[in-house]
Symmetry: C2
Subunit: 485 residues, 2 copies
């Protein structure tokens, strides 16, 4: 690659200040929230679809790979430039372009932060429903790429259920409009295909999101149990009784301990599990499900039930749950966030078996779970400076996912495949299925320039691949951003 | 084609009684609820995935096209065998295989009637949400093929929002399992791609559907207005006030008249429009939205409001809406059901312009609309025995769709493209978009044997095509089944 010529070419498209190329600048972009890293050659900051189109066409003429990047919160390595090349950062395409309250939708640029959509539409009485724990920093473009979930997924579904239309720059530089404001899509559902495709089929430059009417009232309950079994049974009974909480989050003993150690939240010392249940609806409609949840929890030996009466108290109750990641960061040098899904009734059994895996590998694993969805997030704590430690963590993580598959679950709930799980795709898909997916990839991106190395087991030659684990440099971890689920 | 050899081959797969081939038998399958017809050579009745696999492999070796058929209620010609060949009827694969209440899903065969899913899961407190008006006869397989909507679509979405997994026989006879019971799909969303692909990508043999918890209470209101403008304003205000009815159906004057003439329902003689609003939720949560709707309707000069207090009364109120299609069938020799979508605020303008189109073409057009979704169903009445009449109807229908596109809408809300609208795809998609879709088709079905002639403008040579309009034989219409929306 003629670096000078490429630099000149990129500057001609996005301007002098729209390109980073020096090592000290691009090194910031070698990582996301996963445990691998790879250095990009350039980072560019488009401000329009036309810029993106120009970048894609130019990259193609230069034979350079392109990786789109939102906020870099991907925990499966989605934004890591495996073979180097150009990172397209959407931090300057961060505008809410239109709020169309009458048609219950908004049109936004990919760099808009998830929570900022809700802020923009809140005056109209709406919110954008999918809420990853990283929603204060993660972008809607990244959410679309990974089909992100959220703590309210049990009630509202994941990203794909809330995307109506996309503007996409294809690998040949063509701009296509997929879907739109209407509820049904015509012909093949290409919007659905692009959502969750991790930047491998095209670069999304505009997104039409569905808006959800804000519920009138919220009741938030934190329920402390002595044992995980009691908490799990409570979850099962809440579901069986037909109560549909908008959120139902489970923390195991180690997660509770971490929070206690790090932020002294105030959980009782004998807490073996904590359940956070949120109910939403019309004011009159909250009381009965609230009483039902309370009754179910009490019959399952709840040790303590805290309820929020004000928004302030509600935020406080959430602190315990939201503090887990920060807490684990404080008590361990690093963490590996796993993401698997199991049928809800299998939750207790699987959590118990994860405990056995932790013991066998001598690793500390704290569990938080979107229990209403059966979506697990084991947080494996480790020190990347210890030789061989990261390999052990990855192996234990794989074993947990294998366990999820064995009980009829799957290897990702909401974080995507990225470079983390491409080798595990064959556990769930036949060679035939994977060939069908690859054939789709080759239609959209025949030259394989869009986010190479993701989703599928890499066919790249070893000397093309730049990734290394974060433990590769001995000494202090260069890990940047925090981890989120 | 060596008919004897093919017959023998098919009988070897599905047995002596599993194949129809005589003209008097297969003629029943030349039509669905659209205005064209084409004769199949064979109709086969598989009872297992293995049968379907055998049929697909055999058809491929014989170079014969395959068209999957549910109940034949498609109003866009989805089940018509444009080039003849084999119709695979799913009427014997009609079993609910599993109700998994704990994971809120059911596994069913494609020939199961939509309403029978709800019947099967009802003891567990669940229902299957998408409810096309044809739900007493249409099959879940056909719903998946066309991504069917329904009268409760405004609250629950369309079919694609309720399908978790599919078993599909591909064109080469391979069986693939797409998706499953978990909320997120891995890799590319092939379930979403197959839903709505109108039988052109594979033959669905098993379906995992999401179940929805039955609401505790329902309030059903029929509101009579003197003018369409008043009814439309009521719709707009209900949406703007944040009330989310589970159903909001609009009938115009001609639809009301047809119902009065045919079944003497009892609408007042000066009714210019009727709105049917259904609210669902916890008992305590129904009262306030009910009062809001009542208040909004009254301020918009509602002439009369009827409310159901019992399930029996509710069924009676629905009769007026559900009777429209039968009513139109009684007062006109035939009807052409159009299906378009517009942004909700454009509804009054578009309905008025449809009136102008009706006048210009001297056609009677009754309108029913899923108003909450902006999904229109103009019913164009006509007599297929009149020479040139059907052509006029098709032209007027196209003009209505053109109008929908002009105001920012689209050419189908829930009925698919089929052979009716493939020529209109170019109004909404660039040549580039259509090429991308065709490329996907060619991956799944390189030889074009699955439901040829659908979705895309046909590249078949004229002598391959067997379709003719139902008016082609003078004299009495051979039209079989009724029309549904």
């Amino acid at each position: 690659m003629d670096k000078e010529r490429v630099l000149k070419g990129l500057k001609a498209i996005v301007g002098e200040k729209g390109v980073l190329h020096r090592l000290e600048d691009v090194i910031v972009y070698e990582q996301d929230a996963f445990v691998m890293r790879a250095l990009p050659d350039f980072v560019v900051f488009p401000t329009s679809t036309k810029d993106v189109q120009g970048i894609v066409r130019f990259a193609r003429s230069e034979g350079l790979p392109i990786v789109a990047r939102g906020a870099g919160t991907s925990v499966s390595g989605g934004a890591i430039p495996v073979t180097g090349g150009i990172i397209v950062s959407f931090s300057r395409m961060n505008h809410v372009l239109e709020v169309d309250a009458e048609n219950r939708c908004a049109v936004v640029e990919p760099g808009v932060i998830n929570l900022d959509i809700t802020r923009a539409v809140s005056p109209y009485g709406y919110f954008y429903a999918p809420d990853p724990s990283s929603q204060m920093v993660c972008t809607i473009g990244g959410n679309v790429a990974e089909n992100a979930g959220g703590i309210h997924g049990v009630a509202y579904g994941v990203t794909t259920n809330h995307i109506l239309g996309l503007e996409v720059v294809l690998a040949d530089g063509e701009v296509v409009e997929l879907g739109g404001k209407s509820p049904d899509s015509l012909g093949y559902d290409l919007v659905g295909l692009v959502v969750g495709s991790e930047g491998t089929l095209g670069i999304v430059t505009k997104i039409t999101v569905k808006l959800t009417r804000r519920r009138e009232s919220v009741a938030t309950m934190v329920i402390v149990f002595k044992t995980l079994v009691d908490a799990s049974r409570t979850v099962a009974e809440i579901v069986a009784r037909g109560v549909l909480p908008s959120s139902m989050e489970l923390m195991d003993e180690m997660a509770v301990e971490a929070v206690e150690k790090a932020i002294h939240y105030g959980f009782p010392p004998d807490a073996g599990a904590v359940l956070l249940v949120e109910l939403e609806g019309l004011t009159e409609a909250i009381d009965r499900p609230y009483e039902m949840v309370k009754d179910i929890a009490e019959r399952n030996r709840a040790r303590e039930i805290r309820t929020a009466a004000t928004e302030e108290e509600r935020q406080h109750l959430w602190k315990g749950r939201k503090g887990v990641f920060a807490a684990v960061s404080i008590i361990a040098p690093n963490q590996f966030t796993q993401d698997g899904c199991v049928p809800r009734p299998k939750l207790p059994e699987v959590l118990e078996k994860i405990g056995a895996i932790a013991e066998r590998y001598s690793l500390a694993i704290a569990n938080v779970a979107h229990a209403g969805d059966g979506n697990l997030h084991p947080l494996i704590m480790f020190d990347p400076r210890e030789p061989g430690e990261l390999e052990k963590v990855i192996e234990a993580g794989a074993e947990i996912l294998r366990l999820c598959v064995e009980v009829g679950g799957t290897i990702t709930g909401e974080h995507g495949i990225g470079i983390e799980k491409n080798e595990y795709m064959s556990w769930l898909f036949s060679a035939h299925d994977i060939e069908a997916m690859k054939a789709i990839k080759s239609i959209f991106d025949p030259e394989g320039m869009l986010n190479p190395g993701k989703i599928f087991v890499s066919e790249l030659s070893p000397n093309e691949i730049r990734t290394e684990s974060i433990g590769a440099t001995a000494g202090k971890s260069r890990r940047g951003s925090g981890m989120w689920v």
